[in-house]
Amino acid sequence: MMSLISGHPILPVIWACIMAFVILAYVTLDGFDLGVGMLFPVAPDPHDRDVMVNTIAPVWDGNETWLVLGGSGLYGAFPAAYSVILPSIYPLVILMLMGLIFRGVAFEFRFRAIEAQRHWWDWSFFGGSVIAAFCQGAILGALIQGTKVVNFQFAGGSFDWLTPFTIFCGFAVVLGYALLGASWLLWRTTGTLHAKMQRHTFILGIVMLAMLAIVSLWTGLLNANFMHRWFAWPGILASAAAPILSVVLAVIFFRGLAHDHAGEHDRVPFFCALGWFVLGFLGLGYSIFPMIVPPSLDIWQAASVHSSQVFLLVGAVVMIPLILGYNAMSYYIFRGKIEPGAHYH
């Protein structure tokens, strides 16, 4: 690893780590928000839906802000990557944003609409969540697949991203977020909704593990050099850690699910599911480093000028811990199970 970066400036490496953290923060936080939206069809009862929305209402906005930081941070630290990636996946970005609009306003509009219109916003909440998640998965797939770059400009076609692999990645992320959503609700609800989520968490957990395995293998088959990095000695020691830890988490996950009553163990599956996401993400980072737009741009080519990265680093170093602090405070204030029977008007 060190041999890769020796002789190169360190600042872009630091920024690559910060951006990786930001994207991971987004995926783990907004992932369960989007997942809650996807589970609307399995919870047709309006009271259940209100409870589901209320588990995330106070925090969703803060979670989504990590996506804004993903965009603006990438622009600030790696403008070349930002300017290449976005045109290369243009339709996916537009669709993702439109999905997030439908889902974001539904939080408020559901409660403002007259009863007859409410189901429209329920659909908007569900559909927006699914579309946004699918696009995020497909974008990830398109990046892994590779992007054609000439002279710091995207030089491919409008639909280069559209392959079976990216479509599969889209579905994988949809189901992965649904698992995060179900396990979050398992932790934060009671009664019939809780029992229902126990079932869904179990099924989605199995699906997620399968998806994780398939995407990993497919990624390896697409890129011989990834394969090479995984299985070369001594790298194999690091790359073997991900599957082994995933299996360990799976054991904990299913044991945590095997309880009939609500209690402390309700949070276990959620954190295991987060763990799978973190492992998958670290595995991906390990595979593509030091590329930021594989196979064309590495982090040094895409890096902004030194003074821009320094100027922004000050902000990141001071602000990100603070942000994590008051986000945590928000979660603490709104902790505990959400009961049905809130008063609505």
Partner: protein, 484 residues
């Protein structure tokens, strides 16, 4: 040159149209949030100091409206964060080293602050103490102002670029961050925009107060809103006119071509007239059907009747802004602003006569003027942005060299989709906002509808047990029992 230089004219037009549409929609919500967050903070402080229930009732009333407007600001703003790279990659690559960090700083210092405390502000009235709640409201208000600061730094730098050099790939390399942040037009724009946001909200609050006064003149909360809004209009509008004048003179110094287009001055002369009406005709380089007052144009801009002001003939035609749009957008803004100023003056006179709450005709006028501030904001931004053309970064980077290598078909697809979705979603949102504003405010103002239920830590058996349901006292004691 980059691939973007060869972008077809239609692609540039579509990208510009899309940006104009999305940013125009977006700016309404942040402007509303900037003004309303400060207003809410003021209401809460006044309530804490005086204990007067009408303040709390007004706070709760506008808090619900704030939460809906804010959500629309968040999602429409998310579009902006990605649209710059998707549609304007030529620009985002070259200007990235300067604009990227400014926008990222905005996210780090403003958006997270707003989002982090918004939940407590909206849902926390019954969960946290008065002091922490007040703190949360203040943090949201401060967050909106910090956001305005960074975004105006970024836009002002595009208007008056300083503190940079050109790098090896044609990108702008920052050489002096302090100069970039506090570029020559930034202070003027910041003051002008923040006051504009405050005025917009004052006129909305005034219109809502007036609407309910027309129905019930004794409604204490409506009287309070109306009175506060009219104070704000009366005191704020003169300041705003001065701020606008100062910004105009700053623009004359740094972007004389923009001023020439705003004023409809095609020829350079001492003692420019003030064109009241005209149809700028770029082909003939004159205004058709012009009605003008001699020398007053120079008076306003140079504060002397015979001051020389450059006309468009001082610049090559390829560097002319979009004259017609700039000229008329400016007139809409100034005309509206004058009407707003007048409404404030009349309110002072009525207040002096003790007839502020008893003049239905004036209430109708205040209602009609509800959207005036927003119209001014849109017209003002149109003026400054079309007046900046044909440049994205003034005098350095042309708009035609800024677009992304996205096909016209893709741009067309996204334009149609965005216009359709914005119309449906934000159309519905604005309808909900208006419906909420049509509800009369009352002293037993209920909490926001989607208030999560009370804490229920103690319901679940297990280690967390033992902590029974706490009795939460509502701030201010009794605020009406929520309707079932």
């Amino acid at each position: 040159m980059s691939a973007a230089a060869a972008a077809p004219a239609l692609a540039v037009l579509l990208a510009r149209g899309q940006f104009g549409f999305t940013i125009a929609f977006h700016i309404l919500f942040p402007a509303f949030s900037i003004g309303l967050a400060s207003y809410l903070a003021v209401l809460e402080v006044l309530w804490l100091i005086t204990g007067r229930e009408a303040y709390m009732a007004a706070f709760r009333y506008w808090l619900k409206i704030f939460s809906v407007g804010f959500a629309m600001g968040v999602v429409s703003g998310l579009v902006m964060a990605y649209e710059i790279g998707a549609n304007w990659s030529g620009y985002s690559f070259k200007a990235g080293p300067i604009l990227g960090p400014l926008l990222a700083w905005e996210t780090l210092t403003a958006f997270f602050l707003e989002a982090g405390f918004l939940g407590i502000m909206i849902f926390g009235l019954e969960r946290v103490g008065k002091k922490l709640h007040m703190f949360a409201t203040s943090m949201v208000a401060i967050g909106t102002l910090i956001s305005a600061t960074w975004i105006l730094m970024a836009n002002s730098w595009m208007q008056t670029p300083v503190g940079f050099a050109i790098g090896k790939n044609g990108e702008f390399v920052p050489t002096d961050w302090l100069a970039i942040c506090f570029n020559p037009s930034f202070p003027f724009r910041w003051v002008h925009m923040v006051i504009a946001a405050y005025m917009s909200v004052a006129f909305v609050v005034g219109a809502v107060g007036a609407f309910h006064l027309l129905r019930d003149r004794r409604n204490e909360v409506a009287r309070l809103m109306f009175s506060m809004a009219m104070w704000m209009a009366a005191l704020g509008m003169p300041v705003q006119i001065l701020a606008g004048d100062a910004q105009g003179r700053n623009t004359l110094e740094y972007q004389p071509a923009k001023i020439a287009a705003m004023e409809g001055d095609f020829t350079t002369q001492a003692g420019q007239p003030l064109v009241l009406f005209g149809l700028p005709n770029v082909a003939k380089a004159r205004n058709d059907y012009e009605i003008a007052i001699p020398k007053i144009g120079s008076m306003i801009l140079t504060h002397s009747l015979d001051g020389s002001v450059k006309g468009l003939d001082a610049f090559p035609k390829k560097d002319w802004p979009a004259v017609f749009v700039t000229f008329w957008a400016f007139r809409v803004m100034v005309g509206m602003g004058m009407l707003m100023f007048l409404l404030g003056l009349v309110s002072l006179w009525l207040r002096f006569r003790r007839r502020l709450f008893d003049t239905p005709l004036f209430h109708r006028a205040a209602m009609v003027m509800g959207p005036a501030g927003f119209i001014c904001i849109l017209a003002g931004w149109t003026t400054t942005e079309t007046g900046r053309q044909p440049w994205t970064v003034y005098g350095v980077l042309r708009t035609a060299d800024s677009v992304a290598p996205v096909t016209v078909h893709m741009l067309l697809f996204s334009c149609i989709l965005i216009v359709a979705i914005y119309t449906v979603v934000f159309g519905a949102g604005i309808r909900y906002l208006l419906a909420m504003m049509a509800n009369p405010p009352s002293l037993s103002e209920a909490p926001p509808a989607n208030d999560p239920p009370q804490r229920t830590q103690g319901i679940t058996p297990g280690p967390a047990g033992g902590e029974g349901k706490r009795h939460e006292t509502r701030p201010g004691g009794t605020f009406g029992v929520p309707a079932e």
